[in-house]
Homo-oligomer: 148 residues x 2
Amino acid sequence: MEDPVDIRLATAVSQDPRATLAQLSERIGLSVSAVQARLKKLESNGVITGYQAILDPEAIGKPLSAFIEITPLDPSQPDNAPELLEPLTAIEACHSVAGDAAYMLFVRVASPRELEALVNEVRRTASVNTRTTVVLQTFYEHRPILAP
Amino acid sequence: MEDPVDIRLATAVSQDPRATLAQLSERIGLSVSAVQARLKKLESNGVITGYQAILDPEAIGKPLSAFIEITPLDPSQPDNAPELLEPLTAIEACHSVAGDAAYMLFVRVASPRELEALVNEVRRTASVNTRTTVVLQTFYEHRPILAP
DNA sequence: GTTGAAATTCTAGTCTA
DNA sequence: TAGACTAGAATTTCAAC
């Protein structure tokens, strides 16, 4: 994706995914149908991979979040932790990382009690050690990748 | 937010924020207008804080991501790192955390070269030490908070 | 919450440069 | 090929019940 118009469109959409085609077309300076065609292409190209509603974690009863670094107990064993952990819906993100740990998870739970249960379940499920870093406050997150 | 209908609605919306009111109304079992009214309330209540388009980081030229833990150089100084760092648009998230570091950042950049520059800028801007953990592979992220 | 009708938006076919 | 135009379908919106 190098086309400057596509970049402007992706920027506009990532900042306001609910904008109507008419609003986008005004912002971009193209007709509604041109915007629609480009948007469809961005979606089918996989540039826009999806849309997400951002919910307030506290409002939905998950005020506690944490990073969990995990390290396989037995490095000689085949390691499919991400797959094994996928059913745990408290896990919002799973990355493999360079450094001390093998993977970094980001999780959201209702309480310390639930975090403990989750950590234990992660350990059992994936046969790993964990190192948990609790989030005390979130200043910002979900900031758009593309700046204006 | 305890109302079970609101929870179902928030769940449905978080899984498909582009669903039409008609689709949601069918899934929820309420009329279109009732769904619209509840949705508006969820938005104005701050339960739904926003919407986001998810872009493919590689497609938009930011294939490299990393966690940066930061620690103030001088713990006796007033610490407003999140505020100081906010203008750096490569930073997607900023949390204060318990543990060794004071803050955890998640950043996206175009290249190792750019990551180096960003880390240096973070250090300079906020007068902090940093510990960077590079992401090698992302298995999943942006998973909805509310499971069905 | 529901209904229903008007306004807006989306969609897709067609035309033009 | 990309954009513009247009008519018909779908959706959103909002009043009245």
